[in-house]
Symmetry: C2
Subunit: 197 residues, 2 copies
């Protein structure tokens, strides 16, 4: 029972986000129990992944064609740019079907303790987009965390001379949430951000 | 943002056990953000998996060499066979370091509704092992579910003429559990299986 190839696969899977040692074992055995064609297909996709996918030269999202389909789409409103931490956020926001503008991936959030300074983020490129194009609004869709707040504040100060509205996603109680279980900070933000009805 | 190679990878990952659509997305983006060598290593392991790993001819567990390391180990007590549903259970029981006998993988549990009959399980092979070798005890390490109970009962009846002790793993309250939250069936089993102290 020390199938080394199996152990190596379990170790690799356990390095993936959200996959613990037990889940990695389950996944590896599942693949072993499945038709070998599944493993081969997955292996092929993994081999081709980095060749097929590049970063969009405009927004920084992952794409097969550069610029990406969002940046190329004539129906998208290029006057509104949604500023996000990582390329993955595009997928999540697109699934919500709420936003019809374009994106800009920062590639991280300012976090001095982790060694991430504004220079590490794609902020110059964002300023170029503000200069070149007729951008009216920047929506900062950054996590309501210390890093997200810091980055939002930094962008607000840096971009204050550009004729652009800067907004940030509302922070407060999630839909279906319960006041009883909400943390103090979220409750405080909900009060401060209350809306007239 | 319709990177097709990425979408295909997300769909493949979401087919793995315990990986939902969101987790699959996180995993795919994590691999994309990581060094391409990680994807290549994972792909290589997946390609080689089914070639490297086979089933042990004795116990049915997954192994690189046949018979497997447990069946070949002279320190293991071959007079006690632990009967399990799937090869994956060997890994879990071995991690517990409680059992020093050998294994027998049934390859499933009797489940008429899912079309699994005794003929689909590796029961003939188990009987052969009882005939050939000096086996004193069979420990049925089957899940305490309807299918596990059915399979245990079937094995008990089928093997009643063999001079072998058949036991089953204790079923009851898990360590650290709370009587308040335990389900009725488990509580009932805990009462019936109570031990004198």
């Amino acid at each position: 029972m020390n199938g080394n190839a199996l152990d190596r696969l379990v170790i690799l899977f356990s390095k993936l986000p959200g996959v613990g040692k037990k889940s990695a074992g389950r996944i590896a055995y599942h693949i072993l129990d499945s038709n070998p064609s599944f493993a081969a297909t997955l292996a092929n996709e993994l081999f081709g992944l980095h060749k097929a996918i590049r970063k969009c030269g405009v927004c920084g999202g992952y794409t097969e064609a550069d610029p990406c389909s969002v940046c190329c789409d004539p129906k998208r409103d290029t006057s509104i740019i949604c500023v996000i931490e990582s390329a993955q956020d595009i997928r999540i926001i697109e699934e919500g079907k709420e936003f019809s503008g374009v994106y800009h991936v920062l590639g991280g959030l300012i976090a001095p303790l982790d060694g991430v300074s504004p220079a590490n983020l794609s902020i110059d490129k964002l300023i170029n987009r503000l200069r070149d194009k007729n951008v009216k609004e920047l929506i900062l869709a950054l996590n309501p965390t210390v890093e997200g707040d810091t980055t939002a504040l930094y962008l607000q100060k840096t971009l204050k001379d550009y004729p652009v509205i800067i907004s940030r996603l509302a922070s407060g109680m999630p839909v279906g949430g319960n006041i009883e279980y909400i943390d103090k900070l979220t409750l405080s933000r909900s009060f401060r951000g209350r809306v007239r009805i």
